[in-house]
Structures are given as C-alpha cells and as structure tokens.
Amino acid sequence: MLKDRLLELFKKYEQDVQQVVAEVLTLEQEHISMERPRVKEQIKDIIDRVVKDEA
C-alpha cells in the first residue's frame, strides 16, 4: 500500500513526529474533497495529545 510506503519513509524520525505525520495524513485524506478544509483545530488536538502522551 502507498500509505505504508509513505509511513515507512518517516521511520527515521522521532516517534512523536511519526505519530503526528500519520494522524495528520489520515485527517487530510478524509478532507481531500474540500477545497479549503478547516482542519487546524483537529491538527492542534493531535499535537496536544501527542505532547501530553509524551509527558
């Protein structure tokens, strides 16, 4: 799968970066049909959660 290959490329980055990238790519994919998707708050939620999980 294309997505698997894509995520494989990010394996060399830190775990938190990998998690954010994977979740944000899924989010963007879900909103791909929108010209101007409003995903900023959802991205902030993802980052917030990953930072808290790390703490």
Binding site: M1, L2, D4, R5, Y13, V17, V24, Q29
Partner: protein
C-alpha cells in the same frame, strides 16, 4: 474498493427499480455492459459517479426519470435513488444517494435543494451500521479527486498523451499518489506551528528568570544582614564586657569609687524609668485605639441636643399615633363620632395628618438611639480623662529620665576630668565603648528595617514566581507543541521529494512495461520517460521523442498504460470502470488491450458497443468475463432495461 452491486430507481431512462451485479471473481474479474449508442451506458456510468461523489452532473433536474415524472400527479413527490454496494479492505459498505422533487402543475419538477447521501457499514452478522462521516470515509476509500483516473470516459482518455499534457500528468500523480495530501499536511502543520510561535511570543516574557534572580539577590542580602547583625551582637557583647571590666576597675580605685557607685545607682533608676515609660507608651497606644469615641464626641453631643430639643417641643413621642389616624380613615368617622365622606375636607385633613406623623416603629428607634448615645458620651469623657492623665505621667517620666541623663553626664564629666590619669583614661575608653555600642545598635536597627523590607520583598517575589512558573509551564508546553508541529512539517518537506521521485520512477517503469505489452510497434518505441517536469515522453528507436508523431490510438494506449500504472503503483484497491474504451482503437490495439487489461486491474467494468467488442477482442476477454449485461432501450417508452446475459 471492489464494486458488488448497483441499484437504480427512476434514474434517467432507468424507470422503476433496476439492479446490476458486478463480477467479483478474481479469475473472471470483468463485467461487460453492452449497449448501442444512446442505450444508457453513459447514464449507468454517471449513476456510479453520482452515487459515490454527487458529481459529474450539470443539471440535477435531469436525473429523475422523465417517465416517473410523467406518471406522477401534480403535487406528488418523485424521487430517484442510486445504491451501490462495495467492499474495501475486508469491509462491506452500502452507499446511497437520493434526490427528490415535487411535480408542478405545468409538468416540470421542483427539485429539493439537497440530495441525501448515506453510507452504511455492513457488519459480519448482516447488521448495517451508519457511518457518521460518509464523505471523509469515501475520501479515505477512493477520493473524489482521483475518481477520474479509475472511472473514466475512454473517448477522452488520450489527454495524458498529448504533447501539452504535462500539467495533467503532474496533477494526476499529485492526486493519485497522495502528494496533495502531503502538501496540505505540510502547509497546515506550518500554519499551526506559526500560530503556536505567535502565542509563545505573547506569553513569553523571560520574567521568571528575572524574578528568581531578584529573589536570590534579596535572600543573599538578607543572609548578609543577619550575619552582620550577629557580628554586631558579638561586638556589643565584647564592648559590654570591656565596660564591665572598666566599671570594676573604677570601683577598685579609691577616688573613682563613689562616682562609679553613683553612676550605677542612676543607671539602675534610669533603667527602671525607661521600663515604666515603655509600659506607659503601650497604655497610651491602647487608649488611642479606642479614641474614635472621643473624636465622635462633638457629633454625638449635637445629635443628643437635637433629640432633646424635639422631646422638649413634644414632637417625640408624637401626640397622635399613626395607627389611630388610620383607624379613623377606615371607619370614616370623626373622634366625636360624626361620620364623614371620602374626599371630604375632614378626610383630606386626616390624610395630611397621617403623612406628617411618624410611624410608631421609627419613633421607637429614635428613642432607642437617644438611649444608646448617652453612655458613649460618658465613655468618651472617661477616655479623654484617662488619656490626659497618661500624657501627664509620660511628661513627668520624660523629665525624670532627662534629669537622670544629666546626672549621668555629670558623673562622666567628673570621671573624665579626674586629675588621676588612669581614671580619666578608663572613663574615656568607657565612653568610646559606649559610643561603639550605640553605633552598633543603630546599625542593628537599620539592619532590622532592611531585613523586614527584604522579608516582604521575598514573600512578594515568591508569589510572583509562582505565577510566572505557571506561565512558564504554559510556555514550555507551547514550545514543545511548536517544535513538534514544525518538526513534523519539516519531515514531510524532506520526504516529499524523496517520495515523489520514487513514485515518479515507479510509474515510469510500470508505464513502460504496460505500454510495451499493449503497443504493436514495441520495437519502434524503445522507452518511456517521465521526467522531473512530469513530461510523459515516448522515445523511439533513434532515441528521439516520438510523442508528436503518435496516432490517436497510440496516444490512447499510452494514456491507458499511464493510468493503469498509476493505479498499480498507488496500491489503491479500486476498479477500472471504462466507458467506451475501444472506440478509437484499431483491431491490433483492441486485441492487445483485451488480452492484457484484465490482469492489470483488480476489477474491470467495461461499457461497450457491440462493434467495440467482437472477433479476437471478444475471444481474448471471454475467459475473464464474470458478468455480462445488455442495455435494452425501448423506443415506445424511451426507457432502458438492464438484461442479464451472463452472471
């Protein structure tokens, strides 16, 4: 995505409810739908697109079957519905899109503004569960921006192979290979990181560090002050001991003894008086604390005078009680027993009296106030007398202390002026030590004041530090968030080109492989190149670009090779649905494509005319056909019926 079944109800020329089941057998993965021009191939193709994406329709009013509209009564609701069942990654889905309208008296239809799109996930036990985010889920399965590369019109397919088509090629790769998703993710993460940085700038003041430094400085200064105080205390003790030694020595010298003993007596007395003075000062302070009564004394006396004056004039208590007047008004009867009318002069007079009289409760309160004020006057008087007495005692004590100080000075002068050198020297030393002690005491006093100020400052700084720590904790969190968002954006930025180049090279290789399989002049066309500029180029045996010379059929083969390559590289589990794919192809290409295409796609749905699929092409496809239908157009009703030929 693998299509299972489509059900249409009153969709364009498909009147009533009609169903078509696609072949899912991996060995027979081809579904063929035959129809002459105008029979309804494009409508069926459109039904798939409209159901999944609500797109591909310029006039929604034309979606509802004209036959269904003509049969309806004015005011009656007519609807069209397309249902599509498919599987994806082991899950079964059922999506439906419904559009309705009301038939108007003139025969037209007023369409309801919004179509209704629903998606259900079918559980293993056959139960259907509604998908809450159908558009998002559909975008994850087969996004609308890539649908045209999987569901396409065969007659327009050669667009990718035209010399000017590099933008379209780039756009296709960009969408199918999720480069658009990467670009958006990077941009949005950058935006979020920038927002965190702006917020960080707002909350970050560097205040905590400064406050901690100030607190450390204050604590250090306090420690130094306390150390100096202890040092001074030691100095004082040392000076005292030296004074005690001198006093002892003076007591031992005959000529100084009497004066020294006199000094000791005066000092004892002075100590006693100073102690008395301290106690007296405390007493005066106590009296002064309750002296508000004394300050208020003139006002209290004035209030009492007013109340007494009113009592003397007979206004308090009043002669006539309010309740008595109220009773007369209610009975409409005078004191003498004579009745009177409402609004009569007698009635008005009683009302006026009522308004000018005090209510009984107020009268009681005024009398109570008067009673409460009198003891205050007496207390104020007593306090004033007590304060005067204490002040007089203080003056006396101060005079006495001054007198004793003068006596001490006199003793000191006599000792210092003694003709005996030792006495004079000892007294001088004693006075120096005494002056030292006073200096030390003064310094100690200053240090106490400073320590008190430092304690206050440290306490205040402590509070500010706690507050700043909270702010800094937010600052730290924001810093981490900004860093994470930026690192994620940077990672995508770094990987984007790596991924794009890798995908481009894989598409190039795959396109070349497929093109070589499908083209009959395979020895003439030596290579396919997809450069970094996304220019899809065919290289001939002379090593020269050959695309401008390609025939329409060859261009179509090149485009089909490119699309199939993209689908394979993308790894998307998706069907290839092709409307009239072979119309412009010569028999060689048609035969070649029908031979190889079923292997290149997971599922193949072909909308064809009978002319497109005959002879060798038909024979090539025959073993791979799992389902076959014919679209029968009825000239009498202008409706199409789906006839199953093979399933």
């Amino acid at each position: 995505m693998r299509l299972e079944r489509i059900t249409m109800e009153n969709f364009r020329q498909y009147y009533g409810r009609q169903r078509l089941t696609f072949s899912k057998d991996p060995q027979r993965n081809v579904t063929v739908i035959h129809g002459v021009n105008g029979a309804g191939k494009t409508s069926l193709f459109l039904a798939i697109n409209w159901c999944l994406y609500g797109e591909g329709v310029s006039n929604v009013g034309e979606l509802i079957s004209k036959e269904a509209i003509s049969r309806a009564q004015p005011g009656e609701t007519v609807q069209t519905l397309v249902e599509l069942a498919f599987t994806h990654n082991g899950e079964r889905y059922l999506v439906s899109r419904r559009l309705s309208g009301v038939k108007q008296p003139d025969g037209s239809i007023a369409i309801n503004s919004q179509d209704d799109f629903t998606m259900m996930r079918i559980q293993w036990d056959g139960q259907a569960q509604r998908v809450n985010n159908p558009i998002g889920t559909m975008n994850a399965i087969l996004p609308s921006n890539v649908r045209t590369y999987f569901l396409f019109d065969g007659e327009k397919i050669d667009n990718f192979a035209k010399p000017e088509a590099s933008d379209e090629v780039r756009y296709a790769i960009y969408n199918v290979l999720k480069l658009e998703v990467l670009t958006r993710a990077r941009r949005h993460l950058e935006d979020v990181a920038a927002e965190y940085r702006r917020e960080l700038k707002r909350v970050s003041t560097g205040e905590l560090r400064e406050l901690v430094e100030r607190e450390e400085k204050a604590r250090k200064e306090k420690e130094q002050a306390l150390a100096r105080k202890e040092e001074l205390e030691r100095e004082i003790e040392s000076a005292r001991r030296k004074i005690a030694d001198i006093d002892q020595r003076l007591r031992e010298i005959q000529d100084a003894r009497a004066l020294q003993q006199q000094r000791e007596r005066i000092e004892r007395d002075l100590k006693q008086r100073e102690s008395e003075l301290r106690e007296l000062v405390e007493e005066i302070r106590g009296i002064a604390t309750s002296s508000f009564v004394t300050i208020a004394h003139p006002a209290i006396e004035r209030a009492l005078a007013i109340l007494d004056e009113k009592r003397e004039r007979g206004e308090i208590p009043s002669n006539i009680r309010q309740q008595f007047i109220q009773d007369l008004i209610e009975r409409l009867q005078c004191i003498c027993g004579r009745p009177f009318e409402l609004n009569s002069p007698e009635h008005d007079r009683l009302l006026a009296l009522m308004n000018s009289s005090f209510p009984g409760s107020l009268e009681d309160e005024v009398l109570d106030t008067s009673a409460a004020l009198r003891p205050l006057v007496e207390r104020g008087q007593a306090l004033k007398e007590g304060l005067d007495k204490a002040m007089r005692r203080r003056t006396n004590l101060l005079d006495l202390i001054q007198a004793r100080e003068e006596e001490l000075d006199d003793v000191r002068r006599q000792l210092k002026g003694s003709p005996q050198e030792e006495i004079s020297r000892l007294e001088k030393q004693r006075q120096d030590f005494q002056a030292d002690i006073e200096s030390y005491r003064l310094e100690q006093g200053n240090l106490d004041t400073r320590i008190e100020a430092l304690n206050k400052q440290i306490a205040e700084l402590g509070k500010q530090i706690e507050k700043a720590k909270k702010a800094e904790s937010k600052e730290r969190l924001l810093t981490r968030k900004a860093s994470l968002a930026q690192r994620a954006a940077d990672a995508i930025d770094e990987m984007y080109q790596v991924f794009a180049d890798e995908m481009r090279q894989r598409i190039e290789a795959e396109t070349k492989k497929i093109f070589k399989q499908l083209i009959w002049k395979d020895s003439h066309f030596q290579d396919i190149r997809l450069g970094p500029d996304y220019n899809l180029e065919v290289i001939d045996r002379y090593g020269l670009p050959a695309r401008p010379e390609l025939s329409a059929g060859e261009r179509q083969v090149l485009s089909l090779s490119f699309i199939t390559a993209m689908a394979r590289v993308s790894g998307e589990e998706a069907p290839l649905v092709m409307d009239t794919p072979f119309g412009r192809l010569s028999s060689y290409h048609r035969n070649s494509i029908t031979e190889h295409l079923p292997e290149l796609a997971d599922q193949l749905v072909l909308f064809v005319t009978d002319e497109e699929l005959r002879g060798e092409a038909r024979r090539n496809l025959e073993p791979r056909i799992g389902a076959e239908y014919r679209l029968e157009f009825d000239r009498r009703t202008s409706c199409t019926e789906i006839i199953e030929v093979r399933s």
